[in-house]
Symmetry: C2
């Protein structure tokens, strides 16, 4: 039996810092080694038993830490084979697509919205077909204009599955916009999104008071509850007036304070390059 294979040297050089719960210390120690490159992609970690023994903790404590890192994508585990540093092809980022009303309120503007149209329709009629759903399913169709300080920001086109949300029939959405109403009434289990840039159609241009063809951000969302379609909605926002913004940080990094200077990273910063490389 070998006492120390080469990789074990690096893997076991982790050190606990005595701050916070034990399992968090173990977690942080390994996460730091991975992020600073001491543990490279593909490296094998010692077994839980060995880690526990070396660090002087119980096996469950080691397990809790290592399993959490695996859950977050830092490690890959295979029974009998062992635990390995994951090839983090991490190209998934959380991008909040917030309620437009909240965005406006945060910017200190006055938020308003107008219900442009509201009618009950049937799937499969009038050139309308929502393919996740059965034909002839009853839908509520809404068109909403969102404004900030009286300036149009976004057009919302929404279809609500009345079979799942029958209460929506009795709602006029005068006090609560449909997005918020749905969030308050129906949880969803799955959401599909597409994000694209489009030129404004003639209709959109007049609604949003912009030039035809002007760049707009089009976000489409389909949500489901336990497999049943809940709502399909399209947000068309004026490109020059609306931006999506988000930070992605694994919970290990957040909880364990691995990133330094996190403050001051919120406000918009001047961009490198002369101009922003997009507008003339």
């Amino acid at each position: 039996m070998t006492f120390l294979d080469p990789t074990e040297g690096a893997a076991l050089a982790v050190q606990l810092d005595g701050k916070g719960p034990l399992f968090a210390q173990v977690k942080r120690a390994f996460a730091r080694r991975i992020l600073d490159g001491a543990l490279a992609v593909g490296d094998r970690l010692p077994s839980e038993e060995r880690i526990a023994e070396t660090l002087g903790v119980s096996r469950q404590t080691a397990h809790k830490a290592i399993a959490a890192l695996a859950r977050e994508g830092f490690l890959v585990r295979r029974r009998k084979a062992g635990t390995f540093v994951a090839a983090k092809r991490r190209d998934s980022f959380t991008l909040p697509i917030p309620d437009i009303g909240e965005v406006v309120a945060e910017r200190g503007g006055v938020y308003q919205y107008r219900i442009l149209s509201r009618r009950e329709v049937v799937n499969g009629r009038d050139g309308l077909r929502w393919t996740d759903m059965a034909d002839s399913a009853p839908l509520l169709e809404l068109e909403v204009l969102h404004l900030a300080d009286g300036v149009p920001l976004q057009v919302e086109s929404r279809w609500i599955n009345l079979a799942v949300a029958p209460d929506a029939v009795d709602e006029d959405f005068r006090d609560t916009p449909p997005g918020r109403w749905l969030a308050d009434h129906l949880p969803w289990s799955t959401a599909d999104h597409t994000v694209r840039a489009v030129g404004a159609s003639a209709e959109m241009a007049s609604l949003l008071e912009i030039d035809r063809g002007a760049a707009c951000l089009l976000v489409e969302r389909r949500t489901q509850n336990l497999g049943r379609p809940v709502t399909l909605v399209r947000f068309t926002s004026v490109g020059a007036r609306h931006v999506l913004r988000g930070t992605t940080r694994s919970s290990t990094v957040t909880e364990l304070g691995l990133d330094a200077g996190l403050e001051g990273a919120e406000e918009p910063r001047p961009s490198p390059g002369s101009g922003d490389g997009s507008r003339p």
Copy 2:
């Protein structure tokens, strides 16, 4: 002592189905009750001890299940106060922003890229300032054009912090585009994104072979490693040729198979409404 307060009736009506690990059964049972509305926002769950007792499992097993649901945002826990169904203002969605090369390959196209320019620069000079970083820090500036079947898809403007990634100096990025090279060489701990729609500048228009002012998707990403800036990159993609697509599903829903018919949801579906409401 009350034997059954009103909420406990609903909370304890959960039932194990005997499939898979015990803790997963407990997790699934409660998740289902939350999603189907039997447990409404604000409802209080019985204590771990009580749940364990009622379901005939140990307290740690109940704890593991309930703690996992709390981690995923279904529940909120407060010592002494108890466990409550969370007001899920869930407006965060994971949106993969994939490597453009992989996107093209998946669509069956021929992917190519061209390094348009590559130079070493210094922060704070020539109108360039990356405010996360110290002035006079050495940077590598790159401009890359990505093509599918010879058609321009995306322009990538990138700055790499040479203090953190010194190896980049010796890399000509002929065989590996900078995005992939970085992913393989440097893990990141934090990523900030902004997504917006912009009209193509004259320069962009000529590079991408589109009309000036045509809608483009502009994605900006800043990544850090343990608090140190790694790279800042802007992707400008032709709106008509590129879409971001993503599915958000809590891991409970995925792992425990709570959503029905998940298959067949991948391919693009015809849209409701006549036309897609965006292009003339």
